[in-house]
């Protein structure tokens, strides 16, 4: 069975990260598995984890009373789900529901942040990847907002 | 002038008759309700004898002159394109038969036209329109048929108008080729005659039916002098060297917004321009829903509809529309047709209600060019 460090090393988000840094991140992580229909997180819940998706499919949803849950994006194997919160209180602003059996490494955000504070090199390596992830998400979101198929 | 012949002014009406006898409808400059238009000439007297025109940017006046010149008027708002490329045309109609439709094509043969009094700039315009409408895989069959049958009597210019710039484009004031006959009217203190040159076999045939003799050297020299004077009197100049590349590089030139402050997007420039060719197809149904028709009508790129696709207009601002007209005329036209779209007649300057001058706008764009890396 692969260690958490091995799982992270094989994941696209951590590509190129040096082994000592990977080891430090792995110490904050634990394996989790969700069944279809289980929520990884819910809106307004306290946010503690940053999810590294190993396999499966997660629907990120915003619930509307009129229209029910609206899937704004799906997150699949090889992607990540979550924010790094820097201001208390930490809350999720959306729902994320597993659509099938989904396996993740959940990184505890507090532990991750304190390791980054102590080791700024690790901090920079992580933030680099996180910033790129955010940039990609913003681009996708803007294109969705523009409703390019609208008549 | 090669092989020019001398023509008494009295022979002008015989020239027109000779064309009429050959079945041509003779069209030329004439006055209608105080307006200079191109219309049917029944006799030489239908020409605007003794009139001359005064033109400046946004200004056109007909003035009774002190002489009896036949061709004292330069060009008015009309151009010859209305006859070869009509402003309104029924293309076809269809008649409903149950769920079926049956196409009906209007058939009638128009008498061929003789254009009597084509200025060299307008002759150049015909050649430009040939490239647009008569070449390649997709041509306008109506234009082609009428153009082939049209007889051209050109008139060289012995006086330039206030907005002419054919000399700087090489399209005048003398007609070089493309005519069946070319006239030059020589009117000096003590004499009034015409020189005529045949440019084709059918031109020579028509000339053969009219009394004429070879021109004396001195007579030809007089005509030369007048035509050269017309070129020298032109004040407007369009510098075309490097113009296409300049315009391609200046879509963001700050001067466009300055023109936009003045341009009304009325489209007069395009309507009077002898080479503009944009048009609309318009489908309609009669009240009973039985007969469908498609018409073709002139349009200009100045309308908002022109560039409309579902969802919006590509060129909503007046700035973008003026820019489209000018860059098409002077730049993209060159890549499309291998020649400039402009032939220097000056109509767009004369008939613009606010007097926008294409030659000045080009100079202003050049002056406003922001040099350096873009």
């Amino acid at each position: 069975m692969e260690t958490i460090e091995e799982l992270l090393a094989a994941h696209p988000f951590f590509r190129g990260m040096a082994p000592p840094h990977l080891a430090a991140v792995a110490e904050c992580g634990r394996r989790m598995q969700f069944k279809a229909g289980e929520f990884l997180c819910r809106e307004n819940e306290e946010a503690r984890d940053f999810y590294v998706i190993l396999s499966g499919s997660v629907a990120v949803e915003i619930f509307s009373f009129r229209r029910g849950p609206l899937t704004t994006t799906t997150v699949e194997e090889g992607e990540v789900l979550g924010w790094l919160w820097f201001e208390e209180p930490y809350h999720w602003h959306l729902d994320a529901r597993a659509r099938q059996v989904t396996r993740v490494v959940a990184l505890e955000v507090e532990a991750l942040k304190s390791r980054c504070e102590k080791d700024h090199d690790l901090g920079y390596e992580f933030m680099k990847r996180y910033a790129h992830h955010l940039a990609v998400q913003f681009r996708i979101t803007k294109l969705q907002l523009v409703d390019m198929y609208g008549s | 002038m090669k092989k020019a012949s001398f023509l008494e002014v009295a022979q002008l009406r015989h020239l027109i008759e000779a064309l009429q006898q050959r079945g041509y409808v003779v069209l030329g400059p004439t006055l209608r309700q105080g307006d200079l238009v191109y219309g049917e000439l029944r006799t030489a007297g239908d020409l605007p004898v003794g009139w001359r025109d005064e033109e400046e940017a946004g200004h056109y006046r007909l003035v009774k002159g002190v002489d009896q010149a036949f061709f004292g008027c330069r060009v008015g708002q009309h151009s010859w394109k209305q006859f070869l490329f009509p402003a309104h045309l029924l293309l076809w109609q269809a008649r409903r038969q149950g769920t079926d439709w049956r196409l009906e094509i209007p058939i009638a043969s128009a008498a061929p036209y003789a254009f009597f009094g084509v200025r060299p700039c307008d002759l150049a315009a015909l050649e430009v329109q040939d490239r647009v409408l008569a070449r390649g895989r997709y041509f306008d069959p109506i234009y082609v048929e009428r153009r082939q049958r049209a007889f051209i009597v050109a008139v060289n210019c012995t006086r330039s108008g206030g907005t002419c710039f054919c000399a700087s484009l090489g399209t005048g004031p003398r007609a070089a080729t493309g005519f069946d006959l070319a006239l030059t009217e020589v009117l000096e203190d003590d004499r009034h005659f015409l020189l005529v040159e045949a440019g084709s076999k059918r031109g020579a045939d028509v000339l053969g039916g009219v009394t004429h003799r070879p021109a004396k050297a001195e007579e030809a020299a007089a005509a030369e002098r007048l035509v050269a004077g017309a070129a020298q009197n032109q004040t407007k100049v369009l510098e075309t060297m490097g113009l296409k590349e300049f315009l391609y590089n200046n879509y963001e030139n700050p001067h466009w917004s300055e023109v936009a402050d003045r341009c009304l997007t009325c489209g007069n420039c395009a309507i009077t321009c002898p080479t503009c060719f944009c048009h609309n197809y318009h489908d309609s149904l009669d009240v009973a829903g039985e007969v469908a028709q498609r018409r073709r009508e002139w349009e200009t790129c100045f309308t908002l509809d022109h560039s409309y696709i579902h969802g919006g207009t590509i060129r909503p601002s007046p700035q973008s529309r003026y820019r489209q007209w000018l860059t098409h005329k002077l730049a993209t036209w060159v890549d499309q047709y291998g020649c400039l779209g402009c032939i220097g007649c000056g109509r767009c300057i004369t008939w613009c209600p606010v007097g926008i001058d294409i030659t000045e706008e080009v100079r202003s764009l050049q002056a406003a060019e922001v040099k350096g890396p873009k």
């Binding site: 949803e61 849950p69 609206l70 899937t71 704004t72 994006t73 799906t74 529901r97 990609v136 681009r139 996708i140 294109l143 969705q144 523009v146 409703d147 390019m148 198929y149 008549s151 | 309700q33 708002q77 009309h78 209305q82 402003a87 309104h88 029924l90 293309l91 076809w92 269809a94 769920t99 079926d100 439709w101 196409l103 094509i105 209007p106 009638a108 128009a110 647009v132 409408l133 997709y138 069959p141 109506i142 048929e145 009428r146 944009c278 048009h279 489908d283 829903g289 028709q293 349009e299 790129c301 560039s307 409309y308 696709i309 579902h310 590509i314 700035q319 973008s320 730049a331 993209t332 890549d335």
Partner: protein, 289 residues
């Protein structure tokens, strides 16, 4: 200005293919997605064929109402039937979408340039469609599937607004069920019943597998979608000469004569609608041109 009133006085010699519509009959009508219908047309004159190349369009006349440019969306290997997928956005398209079996309409064409399906042989072929853009690409897909062995990887990437807006849904499933094609589908937003991906088309392009140096990409969809897709393709190393887009402009004559469809010096109806991105790159970037 008082031009002479024109009387109808011409004989349009040689005009048949250019100006006069040919009569076609609706053989069948299929409702695709909301507001969108595919008409199957056969020539009113029995036995005639209408060969076309993938990417070309016809001008369709709803008699008395108007004429519109519609891409041919059928199989180029079947020239006896013309398929057109039409979205009702105005009077003419609305009328065409309401035609039923046996109704007659007019057809002029085919016009325009074609997807380089033959030139792309030997390459990986990546076909990226957004929304209704799948319709002008479908003939290219048919052609590629019929000559599958001539290509390397064949990747089809499709994005729609919502699951209800997925065009040719059953056909996408059929293509996906083949073992020699990869089909990636996404929607911009979806209700929870949707089991597929959610996220824009450029996002799922990341899943397509191709050797960028030996790839031809065909892209068709809304302008925004094409722009961003082209950027992503170039970021992955596909050269602009091998990326092809289908552009759209107000078209009336289909002949490059009425002037409406100009983009700089290019007539979309005659020099396009299919262009290599290299050719239109500079004009793409200019606003209000």
């Amino acid at each position: 200005m008082a031009p002479e009133p024109e009387k109808p006085d011409f004989r349009p010699s040689g005009a048949e293919g250019l100006l006069l519509p040919r009569l076609f009959r609706v053989e069948s009508r299929r409702r695709e997605i909301p507001d969108t219908v595919t008409l199957t047309l056969t020539p009113a004159e029995a036995g005639t064929e209408w060969p076309f190349a993938p990417g070309q369009f016809n001008m369709l006349t709803a008699f008395g109402i108007g004429e519109v440019p519609i891409s041919i969306s059928g199989d180029p290997a079947e020239p006896r039937r013309l398929l057109h997928t039409i979205r009702a956005v105005g009077a003419a398209t609305g009328t065409l979408c309401r035609l039923t079996r046996g109704d007659v309409l007019g057809v002029r064409g085919p016009f325009g340039t074609a997807w380089p399906v033959q030139e792309a042989e030997g390459h990986d072929l990546v076909i990226i469609a957004g929304g209704l853009g799948l319709a002008p690409l479908r003939p290219a897909i048919y052609r590629a599937l019929a000559h599958r062995a001539a290509y390397g990887n064949l990747e089809l990437v499709y994005g729609a607004r919502t699951p209800r807006d997925i065009l040719y849904y059953r056909e996408l499933q059929r293509w996906r069920s083949r073992f020699d094609v990869r089909v990636h589908v996404t929607v911009d937003s979806a209700p929870e019943t949707w089991r597929g991906r959610v996220g824009v088309v450029t996002k799922i392009l990341a899943y397509a597998r191709f050797d960028a140096a030996n790839t031809t990409a065909l892209v068709c969809g809304p302008g925004v979608m094409m722009r961003f897709t082209v950027q992503d393709l170039m970021a992955r190393g596909v050269s602009p000469e091998h990326i092809f887009v289908s552009l759209e402009r107000h078209m009336q004559c289909g002949l490059g004569l009425c002037g409406h469809c100009q983009l700089g010096p290019l007539f979309i109806c005659k020099d396009g609608p299919v262009f290599s991105y290299a050719r239109v790159k500079d004009w793409f970037e200019k606003r209000e041109v």
